[in-house]
């Protein structure tokens, strides 16, 4: 399990952020004194640091520089000062990436995931989603059932992983749309129907043409 260190001075934001990250399968370390940040990193139990730029006492850049003296742990800056110079400065201090406030959770999660994948290439094999006898490989865009497999588009993969994540539950059309938008696929209501139809066509190839049930006026479910 990946453990993230959150160095953020706003107590409410810190709490909410750590709650969200924990609900997405990360462990969090939330120091209240920023003097301890380096010690926690030294202990070696965290895998990534989320560092706010504006901290009381020492700013994020300074902490970053001091961490870099002994560790190559990935550092993601959280910044509300959005002038380019600040970002540039953060990078020269040894930061790996930055996310601007107000950040959206899906974007922050995507950046964290990308950084972790880059920094810990051997940690964990490709994520796959299993449901009944189906095996969905999101990164490859492949759906397997037994020996057979079909290639899915990005849209179809996202739709299916949505459905697999909440089986038996009616997922509303707008939920699908939002989920896809969070992954930077900007579909609208009409195109959602089109992609659903195509997905059903591909499922038919795996003898599961009626896997997805339509609830008119509500949404879809499996």
């Amino acid at each position: 399990m990946m453990r993230l260190l959150i160095a953020e001075d706003d107590e409410v934001l810190r709490r909410e952020l750590s709650r969200d990250l924990e609900s997405h399968g990360y462990e969090t370390a939330v120091p209240e004194r920023f003097e301890d940040v380096e010690d926690i990193v030294k202990e070696g139990k965290v895998h990534l640091v989320l560092l706010d730029v504006t901290l009381p006492g020492r700013d994020g850049y300074e902490i970053c520089r001091s961490i870099r003296r002994f560790s190559r742990i990935p550092i993601l800056f959280l910044t509300s000062r959005d002038t380019d110079m600040d970002e540039l400065y953060g990078m020269t201090m040894g930061g790996d990436d930055f996310v601007r406030k107000p950040y959206k959770m899906p974007i922050l999660l995507a950046r964290i995931e990308a950084l972790i994948r880059r920094s810990y290439p051997d940690a964990g094999t490709e994520r796959e989603i299993l449901w009944q006898d189906f095996r969905l490989l999101p990164a490859k865009g492949k759906l397997c059932r037994g020996e057979r497999e079909v290639i899915l588009t990005r849209q179809e993969t996202l739709l299916l992983s949505c459905l697999f994540a909440r089986p038996g539950e009616v997922i509303r059309r707008v939920d699908f749309i939002e989920e896809l938008w969070d992954n930077q696929v900007f579909i609208d209501d009409n195109t959602l129907s089109v992609h659903m139809t195509r997905l059903r066509g591909k499922l038919k190839e795996l003898d599961a043409g009626d896997l997805i049930v339509t609830r008119y006026g509500q949404g879809y479910l499996i």
Binding site: L13, E16, D84, K101, P102, M105, I107, E178, D182, D189
Partner: protein
């Protein structure tokens, strides 16, 4: 600076001298000189006065002419006393000192005003940045459960964020120096970020989008470009046509060797032909603005100002009731 004015000024000293000459003549006459003997004296004296005054006038005229020429050549007129060093009479030196004093004090006042303005701008920026903290927190909380209420909150947060960006860029646009940084920009990524920022606005208004693949990369200031796109997208939704699915289509066209024309076209209510030439004016709201009371007339003005500062072309064409199309002219990045 007419000649007559000069002679009027010199009238009193000349008159005094003539009176003195008369008195001297009467005295010499009493001592026994004849009138005839006094004529050469009076003639020479009067001649001297006239000649001196004439030369003095010519000198003064030349002096002022030189000043006028110098003033003409100056870009910042108030710097005149700093440049003018030529004071060789007692009177000129006196005026010169006063003038210099005036300018110095004026410059101090201006500097103080500029300093205050800069401080104000910086404070404002800090406040706006601090405002993003609570926006972050609320959007994290509201983003957890997908309920109707939370979606409404997220939409309002998007508007708040949009307004706070406007304040930032307004503050920047009014100051003389600009914080723009030209760099390589992935145009497609900026468009996607813009759409993500307006996620609730676009989804809740059921906007249909058309985004081309493989848009060339450009040279621009990323955040400024984002701001401009944001404003255009925001306007497209705000001024949508009732009873029709709003559409926003991005398209691009390479023009010449290194220009990219990025079109953003909507099917909204359009802009009337009399309003169209004025949409980039500060505070101009026009017919659409009068119908939508929230309109401030600042959004497009800021866009234009930013684009001008960056050397980016921004133009608009529209047909009332049919469409509005903004075109951004960017410089393509040519990889070597």
């Amino acid at each position: 600076m007419s000649g007559r004015m000069y002679w009027r000024q010199q009238a009193v000293p000349v008159l005094v001298q003539v009176l003195c000459l008369c008195a001297a003549s009467l005295y010499l006459r009493a001592l026994g000189l004849t009138w005839l003997q006094l004529i050469p004296l009076a003639g020479a004296y009067m001649g001297g006065i006239v000649l001196w005054n004439l030369l003095h006038f010519l000198r003064k005229r030349k002096y002022f002419h030189k000043m006028a020429v110098l003033m003409e050549s100056l870009d910042k007129k108030y710097l005149f006393p700093m440049v003018w060093k030529d004071a060789d009479t007692w009177e000129e030196a006196g005026y010169y000192c006063l003038m210099k004093e005036c300018t110095k004090s004026m410059l101090e006042e201006t500097e103080e005003a500029q300093r205050l303005q800069k401080e104000y701008r910086e404070r404002l920026e800090t406040f706006v940045h601090d405002m993003k903290q609570p926006i972050s927190v609320v959007s994290l909380i509201a983003g957890r459960e997908k309920t109707q209420d939370n979606r409404a909150i997220l939409l309002e947060l998007e508007k708040m964020n949009h307004l706070s960006e406007q304040i930032l860029y307004f503050g920047r646009s009014e100051s003389s120096h600009s914080d723009f940084r030209i760099q390589k920009v992935d145009t497609g990524a900026v468009i996607r970020e813009c759409l993500s920022m307006n996620k609730q606005l676009l989804i809740q208004n059921r906007v249909s989008l058309d985004i081309p693949e493989d848009i060339p990369k450009v040279y621009a200031d990323e955040k400024a470009l984002l701001f401009v796109l944001n404003q255009i997208v925001y306007n497209a939704v705000t001024y949508k046509k009732a009873g029709e699915v709003p559409k926003i289509a991005f398209s691009f066209l390479a023009a010449g060797d290194n220009k990219l024309l990025l079109h953003i076209r909507d099917n909204g209510c359009g802009i009337s032909s009399e309003d169209l030439p004025r949409v980039f004016e500060k505070g101009f709201t026009g017919k659409n603005g009068r119908e939508n009371r929230r309109s401030t007339g600042m959004g497009l003005y800021l866009c234009k100002k930013i684009c001008d500062g960056l050397g980016i072309g921004l133009s608009v064409c529209s047909e009332e009731g049919v469409y509005t199309r903004f075109t951004i002219c960017l410089s393509i990045l040519t990889e070597k």
